[in-house]
Symmetry: C2
Subunit: 205 residues, 2 copies
Amino acid sequence: MAYKETYPSQLLSNAVEAISSLPGVGRRSALRLALHLLKQPADSVHHFTGAINDLRDGVCYCRRCRMISDSEECAICSDMKRDHSVICVVESVRDVMSIEATGQYHGVYHVLGGIISPIAGVGPGDLTISELVARVAAGEASEVILALIGDVEGETTAFYIYRQIESYGVKVTSLARGLGFGDALEYADSLTLGRSITNRQLFKP
Amino acid sequence: MAYKETYPSQLLSNAVEAISSLPGVGRRSALRLALHLLKQPADSVHHFTGAINDLRDGVCYCRRCRMISDSEECAICSDMKRDHSVICVVESVRDVMSIEATGQYHGVYHVLGGIISPIAGVGPGDLTISELVARVAAGEASEVILALIGDVEGETTAFYIYRQIESYGVKVTSLARGLGFGDALEYADSLTLGRSITNRQLFKP
């Protein structure tokens, strides 16, 4: 829909411009958010912007796994109850949070900070792959789980990492792929369904 | 979906908390936005938060129509080419922008800053109705257009304002209601369609 953009105030225009730079936020939503913030007490707005500045300026990354952390070593890496011999390699901080939310994993992580993508201009050097290789070379792990997205870029990244670490004699695994819990066969895409059949498992009643 | 929220960093948790206080932004979106901001250069993030702080701290409201403005009198009120004898009464800044975008209106505005809503606890005293009455009482206008939303609260507000200004002998009008441009009859709600019939106009070929 065409919408002539004449803002009644330069300050409003600047704020809308800034807010609409966020991913998934259009100019109309940005205007709505700007006018919302304008209605809040000044203290609330300063608290809002302060929390964002504090995050950007104060955040640390774990020197071991590159996870976001408030200190030099993250809570997971400094937890001696976890199995430090299993490293789960993920794309992002969110993936760590998702896996942690399952409560099913007790090893440690390595956050790549992205995925190899020629289209997006992300090469192996932009990721923390050399740090991962160093961890493996130091004999830190007996198993590396490649928990990456199941598309071409994810598999390319997984393969690249595999080639880098295979010589160290570490066990390399990847996530099980197949139908999701509760998924109906008729709605599954054929690639997923095909893999589910190929990688079928012994029925354990 | 249940999502166990354990943030790897207090700073991240604070930022997510702040961002999810925005209307329409859930905690998952807030996390996505926080991690996006974290990936941006520090300068960009400071520019982002600065634009919001500047808006909140620096914005003015036009002393005449209460529109957002960078100065004491807004661009519309200080435009001598516009018809200052017609005042269009709207709920919000966004309504002014929407009407301006049509290019069909050449009068001035009055921004109420809300609508009378007993449920939301908004009474006439919370709006700029007395300022509007003062403008009418000063003989500023020959016509007042009540351009408010066509629901119970909008009509209540319109009626309240009408009662306040009718004694000044000003012409009071409201927006035409009916089918939208290009609307099919079969999809119109019966209230809108009913009004469209009642307020039918002479066909001008």
